[in-house]
Symmetry: C4
Subunit: 297 residues, 4 copies
């Protein structure tokens, strides 16, 4: 938009800002693409570097790529901060923290030798992908899902509280019924087993042995199998509601300010005001007609 307006540093800053923070020009799109490739490469290097055989064979290459990418990310962060008017505000935001986390662990290795174990922290750079997703117009979809989640959050919280209570009671029951040999050595372990069973994961590392234990397991499994209908039903209903609300216009009633009318509604459902700006209220016409008749006599 404001390309080549000024040759000075201000113009460069503004150009860099458009390339780095937006995604509507070819340059900005190319930058996004390079960034996403760099992030994925960097994540792949960390993943493959954790495999023994690859680490031994390609260890040097991995180390070289890790440092190259970290340096690139560091420069990118500095440029990012340079573009902004309030860099400290950005550094304290979610994306700023993620950007810092993406590069700090590698630099720390220079200072602290044991810091190489910070593999999880380094992997947090995968969160940077969210930034790209945000730019690729996934915002609407994500926001709709988040809104539906927020609306059903109380019910899902209630659902999980109930599940945890049920699981605790079943676990205590199985702990008293089943012996230690079967693997039910404590109530926390039994809770782990109960959740493995109820969520239908079913590793099979701990399994009921006694007939009574198997009977109770059957009840727990049927419960877990069918109870999944609860969050699914609640969430489905909320998604449907969100989609339906797209059907409501967002214009406010000029009479009372109510802003939730069905698209195509002609009268405000709270104060009865005529909503359509582009045509006249038929009631007015009727009234006028009646008045004409009245005055005509």
């Amino acid at each position: 938009m404001s390309l080549h307006l000024a040759p000075g540093p201000e113009g460069i800053r503004s150009q860099l800002f458009h390339i780095i923070f937006e995604s509507d020009t070819p340059g900005a799109k190319a930058f996004d693409l390079v960034l996403i490739v760099a992030i994925l490469t960097s994540v792949a290097v960390i993943l493959l570097g954790s495999v023994e055989t690859y680490a031994q064979r390609y260890g040097d290459i991995f180390l070289y790529m890790e440092w190259t990418l970290t340096t690139a990310f560091s420069i990118e962060l500095l440029v990012r901060l340079y573009c902004l008017e309030r860099p400290t505000v950005y550094l304290k935001s979610f994306y700023g923290v993620v950007d810092l986390i993406a590069i700090l662990p590698t630099w720390l290795v220079l200072l602290v030798p044991g810091a190489h174990a910070l593999v999880i922290v380094r992997l947090l750079r995968v969160l940077r992908i969210f930034r790209i997703l945000r730019m690729m117009e996934f915002v609407g979809e994500g926001q709709m899902l988040l809104e539906a989640l927020k609306r059903s959050s109380r019910q899902i919280l209630l659902f999980f509280s109930s599940i945890l209570m049920v699981v605790t009671l079943f676990a205590a029951l199985m702990y008293t019924i089943e012996s230690d040999e079967a693997g039910f050595t404590s109530i926390p372990i039994s809770i782990y087993w109960a959740i493995v069973s109820m969520t239908t994961v079913g590793y099979g590392d701990i399994v009921p042995v006694t007939p009574l234990g198997k009977s109770i397991t059957v009840i727990l499994m049927l419960l877990g199998y069918s109870i999944i209908a609860v969050p699914t039903g609640v969430f489905s209903a909320q998604v449907i509601r969100s989609i339906r609300e797209e059907r409501y216009s967002e214009e406010a009633c000029p009479g009372c300010g109510l802003d939730r009318h069905e698209k195509g509604a002609r009268y405000c459902l709270r104060c009865g005001t005529w909503l359509d700006e582009f045509s006249d209220d038929p009631r007015e016409k009727t009234k006028e007609a009646r008045q004409d008749v009245d005055t005509g006599e």
Copy 2:
């Protein structure tokens, strides 16, 4: 509300009642918080006390905490009963029984030495959390879910009856096909296996071995995988219905007969007729006022 009305015992009882049974004052909220921490601590003590290594190391601390908390719960129950006008009615209610169950097993240990095994009964104090949930305005959400469950209960019962019949027949089939070595030693065990497979838990402790057995298992698994759609669909539909009914009133518009108005709608959204029977249409007033002005001139 009625704080500091009377300095006598009646005033204290009423104050205690507000703190213990309600949750709208700062005191009552603090009490709720203390109670929920005490319940969770007490549950954690029971859970960790069942772990061999912790029990040996921290056994004394656990015993001390158990007795402290049980004493506190006992005092709380006594105060609760002291506040109420009809304590026996409360003791027979769901929450009264849960309160008793939460403390009785520990006291029983003093009388009966073997009573320490009543670990499940002691864990029932986890149900006390429901009381807190009730206070935290989760009632609406829970009630909506329960209503949807109640509405779909007949269909879900029918669904489970059918599943149990299918499972019994598949189990009998597998019992005749698979040998004892594979683990199918009796029909009840086969039923356990069939439910493990159908609910997609799949422990893997019993597994088909013969090609015919595997073919039948494939059918059972596909059945279980897709049949979950039935309770989910039924429940989703009922939740959607519950949400919709909350939003729509059931009264029809006297003007045009439209019977789908949002609750709180005052004018029919199709023909603009005034919907509220118990008050007058402000438009009428305006018109009358205008007419008064007209005739006044």
Copy 3:
């Protein structure tokens, strides 16, 4: 209803018919209860009789109960046939066949010694419970579910055809990638594994070993995990539709015969005929009024 009308055999037949085939009188309800207890007992005897230890200890009791119940069921069937005007038609119906299957295997043991192995056939008597369910007014719920299933049947068939094709291709892929030691000894076995994985059962009896095999498994599992949304979504939509149709009145339009109007609809949506029998069409009034005005001038 027609109790004690005639003391002759006709009266007895009619009384027996009401008791056995209906469920609205106390006698009929008591009969249903006895029948369901007998069926469940008989099923329990078969199930427990298949457990080695119980068979050895209580074998005689099981045999005695089996014969008693079979005799009772046989007498019941004879009485049933005696009540009916066309017994052969009943015997060829679904319930008639189930009734026969419920007793024949036990009688066959007298003639053929090896027939004792017909355990599955004997268990088919569990299907008799459907009769009871039918009487307990579960018909509506079942019919609604069946209707929703029937409506979504084509889509679900298409879904399963696609799944089987996907599973076959994944199985062939894994058969070529994974070695025999991992358990992928043939394509049919691989198909069994693919269905175990895709339906999220996951026994763990066959498991990918190579990195490539694990990568493909990951895709298969994510596919199976998310694709369940398809039948669930289709079925949910159909249940919602079925429930909504309850909202439609079943009265036909007197003008054109159309029988699908929203409850509360006042005009036929096909021919515009006034639907409400109990009040007059306001259009008529307006017309009359207009005519009055016309003729008045």
Copy 4:
């Protein structure tokens, strides 16, 4: 339709075209049936041929059937191409490629001996079944599902991106917590385990051992168990929308503005206005007729 129009080669080509590419005449239906049996037989031969014991016993029969069917498919493809005016266009289409893939691998064995291993490519002939499905009027259902999938694709893509990020972070966490003995030897293996757990497959080949690892697994399983509600909810909502849109026209009533009429509705169900713009209201005619009678007298 155009049977026996011309005795020349054109007539034969047109006849063959109707039989092979359509499915509305008895001949065409018979051809479809023969084709589907041939495809299924051919797939069965490949599947059973991969089983060691069957291959040894019936190897010759399988080889004979494979060659017979491949020859038949080859002739069919040639005839197909002969019927068409632009055979090369067909060969480049999806079905043309599938047809070629279905026969090429077997012919390749003649030239390249090792080509017998192309078992997966040969199995791709299972895709030919889609052609039959297309003809059996499954198109509408499939299209509806595809449309719903397309509509929810962005949300499902977003869902999977988020899942993969979550899974990567959990995997890295478990890799640092759990030891190599438990099977968490690298992050990619941990990712495999995390997906096995989150999709509730739960093979049990890799299982957490430490208490901390089990606690994190519990969170991952509960997440996977409940998060399935997201794609299910989104897809359900889209299916419902697709079904609804089939039933409602989008034109509003000129009389009262109601915009939710069933397709084929001729009068507004709320105000009785004639909806069809392209023809006249029969009531008008009746009225006119009546007026003609009135004025005629």
